[in-house]
Subunit: 310 residues, 2 copies
Amino acid sequence: MDASSFKDFDARLAATAGETEALLERLLDDAPVTGETARPERLLAAMRHAALGGGKRLRPFLLVESAALFGTARSGALLAGCALELVHCYSLVHDDLPAMDDDDLRRGRPTVHNAFDDATAILAGDALLTLAFDVMAREEVHRAPAVRVALVNELARAAGLGGMAGGQMLDLAAEGRFAKKRALAIAEIEILQAMKTGALIRFACRAGAILGEADAAALASLDRYGRAIGQAFQIADDLLDLESDAATLGKAAGKDAAAGKATLVSALGPPGAHARLDALVREAEDALAAFAAKADTLRAAARFVAERRK
Amino acid sequence: MDASSFKDFDARLAATAGETEALLERLLDDAPVTGETARPERLLAAMRHAALGGGKRLRPFLLVESAALFGTARSGALLAGCALELVHCYSLVHDDLPAMDDDDLRRGRPTVHNAFDDATAILAGDALLTLAFDVMAREEVHRAPAVRVALVNELARAAGLGGMAGGQMLDLAAEGRFAKKRALAIAEIEILQAMKTGALIRFACRAGAILGEADAAALASLDRYGRAIGQAFQIADDLLDLESDAATLGKAAGKDAAAGKATLVSALGPPGAHARLDALVREAEDALAAFAAKADTLRAAARFVAERRK
């Protein structure tokens, strides 16, 4: 990618992040919506701490750009992207808890349980997850209830027992939390990561096709693209943890290596991991072939995911 | 209520509980469904510990009996009831955590964090909540996507920031967790309880009307009924905490009084609370007037909620 297209991509990513932030701000204002009794101040403040003021908003971006392939309304895709981002934010709040990964810093700020307390952080995560489904079910996401209910169902499966939450469980187990630690086979690491981080990224891309009422072939293409960049994202993340520092990351660095965490980087070695990353970017680009030039932003996103430095 | 109608009611409640249990058992078996990668054994075991083998399944019962007023398919109402029960079960798992209410016993068995550990309990709660929305979005709940998406949206609002999760936050605050403890006014206790326990019970009754594609008047009647029995449920619960023992309850007793917890029983005194309970049962019965004899089971349910002894 040459310097100018990188710049275009960065501007596009930043624009969607800004729109996402503005929408999240509105979703998390202090006025109760129909069906709510009141919005307790402390809980709302903790949710806002978790969801506002940061992040690349990569998942909403992927969702919006995938939906754009089909010419769907951007406003609905942005709202669906917010629902997805709320799930991502909840997972960070719970994963950071002392009982889980015990992290003090997130996006350069105190984690929610540090800024508030453990009970408030648990509830804030719960309420963010719950809000995600409220939002995804709203008429503003798409005029067709069948589309919204499909998105709700897929989001739940990507996030739950057989997806993200299950992946976090496998990760804790792999650290030797519940039994003697043992080295994971590469195939086991791939399953863990497909669940823990891959599932939401893959959902982002599938959700664009669902919003666009795409045919089966287009959905399959975006599914393949989403799987590839989900894997690429995790490898890039693990390389960053190895090669970067806390000031750049805005969170603790070197922690995975220190914990002897099972990653593809440790299993394949850094050169092997870089080669895998390149192959995944090619796979992602191949998956988009049928969309021709319309998918250039998604192609740039694949390279961005693989090459990002923070 | 004479002895024989009590017996009929008990049999009906037990039958629905049995059907709910069987459905939950199927929802929580070890076979991944479409969109899931794998079902990690430890997480699934913790979810099963939390959701299976107990409880009156009052919320599913109210949903099923409310839906029955409109002649909807019982199978769909039972599945929607399971979705609701999963939300209830998740809330118990998280509320029992050491960082929250720190309870060791639930339904006479160790709480999830005691039987497993805190991290697993947090994830099990998260995954139960997530599964609830997966289930509510399934076609088997109702043929019309518009009905399912309305149920998803209402369930989320009943459970989240402006409902149950918000109510738990207010409850922790009322215990003096974050600032100096102060006595709550009766109106504040009512709001807290309408959110913490009332919202899901009210949702159960509204959900029956939504499944039945009821008109606005019927929905309003069930809403009024649901509000009344939600309040009655909490007052009965607080009276039980005061008047019962742990062996009968299957959980710690006298804990609220020991913590000086703000309840309507402490605010009104036991005689005042009993009088309020009677008034709420009459209110619930009044709300059902338009349904005539078809609503006899719901009338019995109102009395059951107020008079239950465990």
